[in-house]
Amino acid sequence: MAVKVIIPTPLRVYAAKKDSAEVSARTVGEALGGLTTQFAELRKHLFTDDGKLRSFVNVYLNDEDIRYMAKEATPVKDGDVVSIVPSIAGGRALA
């Protein structure tokens, strides 16, 4: 399935400054995996060393939070949009 993954501003620096990427995937997890294959630097920002999605990374399939669906196993279909929604605080550095 061809899906679009939207890359949020804070992570674009690790994704060749792209705001989105087209990937082929059957699940949300595969879509994110495809994204990190295209942009290897993104991997450590999305996944832990043992391959789990980081707890502070929110992922949406269209307008639904995948935590309330089948998480990374949530199936995708052609034309779906997967969004990575980071926490942003604004303003000064976090130190």
Partner: protein, 394 residues
């Protein structure tokens, strides 16, 4: 805390407008969605702005201009030249002045008929509940994760709505947390990102107009809450991409397992948010708990001797991933409901990053009847300094 002398509490409900006010608010009054009834609601509303910077600028200006009768302004910072690119409340002549007071002066000039109180203080776990209690709506225009979690938790504890906005470079988010049966900030983001993993705003910068747009959305949501009109952003996360000039909307659900607003709440009071967010070197001073301590060197010697010690790591799982000393992970927030997992007959050494959270854990466990328990003095940071320098500090 320096404040001006105007008071908010005990202010009687106002049931009419003066002739001057009718003229000032005429463009509201002729709209049926606002009208006299709505304008009086605005006049009787009490709104607290946390932060008077980029988001706080349009918030303060529009809420004051709209006639919100009582505005509180919380900021400890001082205006500097780098603020003027986006913090449009301030003029060049304000550089060097305290933001809360400079904003109060500017907004008083804009609307002398409203009451404005400035709080020249940093919002902390120690003063948040006291500051919030006199206000109906809290608006989060802060710039850091610890304060966002603090604002969220204080709003949930007091049952007040939290009008949320945040920005990064060209991207903004807005919603309303803390509505009855609605989600809170922790439902969306249970944990903050560890420092350093997401680029900071100081590296990224922010386009000056962006906080103007996001702050204006917050001002609109605040006014809608006061008027009780329209569809609130509560339960929806608005994402704004200024470069693509696109607004998107995501569904926000209340997390049934949320530690703050879920059914089995594990957080019942304000915590140390600097510690929670792992902000190095900025820990707010916490009252020192008197608990039995063990130094890292003593612990190492006893472990080397083969003493039967149960090392309890009360940090969060993501911190455990950063570094650990092979302790058993049981985050402080989960301790009350998981205390049965611990064996009170064994000798326990609790540790965290710096020793503060584990002091709370030791205090809690002693009150729960544990007798053979120590706090690792200085936490994993001291362990790195005194025992094993290969353990990274964070």
């Amino acid at each position: 805390m320096a404040t001006n002398t105007q008071t908010l509490s005990g202010k009687p409900t106002v049931a009419s407008l003066s002739k001057e006010e009718i003229l000032r608010y005429s463009r509201h009054l002729i709209m049926p969605e606002v009208g006299m009834e709505g304008q009086l609601k605005l006049k009787n509303a009490k709104v607290l702005l946390i932060g008077t910077g980029g988001l706080g600028a349009p918030l303060g200006l529009y809420l004051a201009a709209a006639g919100v009768g009582s505005l509180g302004l919380v900021d400890f910072d001082v205006v500097d030249f780098t603020n003027l690119q986006r913090q449009v409340t301030f003029g060049t002549s304000d550089v060097g002045k305290h933001k809360s007071e400079a904003a109060r002066a500017r907004l008083s000039n804009l609307n002398p008929d409203i009451e404005i109180r400035s709080f020249e203080t940093q919002l902390t776990s120690g003063n948040a509940l006291e500051l919030f209690k006199d206000f109906d709506i809290i608006v989060d225009g802060t710039d850091n994760f610890p304060t966002r979690y603090l604002v969220n938790d204080a709003c949930i504890l007091l049952g007040k709505p939290n009008v949320y906005g945040s920005i990064f470079r060209f991207e903004g988010q807005a919603t309303v947390f803390g509505m009855p049966d609605g989600p809170c900030y922790r439902c969306l983001y249970p944990e903050p990102p560890p420092p350093g993993l997401v680029p900071s705003c100081a590296e990224g910068g922010v386009l000056g107009v962006l906080p103007g747009i996001v702050g204006s959305i917050q001002a609109m949501e605040t006014i809608k809450l006061i008027l009780g009109t329209g569809d609130s952003l509560g339960g929806r996360l608005l994402l704004f991409d200024a470069l693509g000039m696109k607004f998107r909307e995501l569904k926000l659900r209340k997390n049934p397992d949320c530690p703050m607003c879920g059914k089995n709440r594990t957080i019942h009071q304000l915590i140390d948010y600097y510690e929670f967010c792992g902000v190095r070197g900025e820990e707010a001073p916490a009252p020192d708990l008197q608990v039995p301590e063990i130094t890292p060197r003593e612990l190492k010697a006893r472990l080397d001797r083969g003493d039967d010690l149960y090392v309890l790591d009360v940090r969060e799982p993501h911190e455990y991933q950063i570094c650990n000393i092979k302790g058993h992970l049981l985050p402080l927030g989960e301790l009350p409901r998981r205390v049965h997992e611990l064996d009170s007959s064994r000798e326990i050494v609790a540790h965290c990053r710096s020793g503060k959270r584990s002091a709370e854990a030791v205090d809690f466990l002693r009150k729960a009847g544990f007798r053979k328990i120590h706090n690792l003095k200085g936490g994993i940071l001291a362990w790195s300094d005194e025992v094993d320098s290969s353990v990274p500090k964070y």
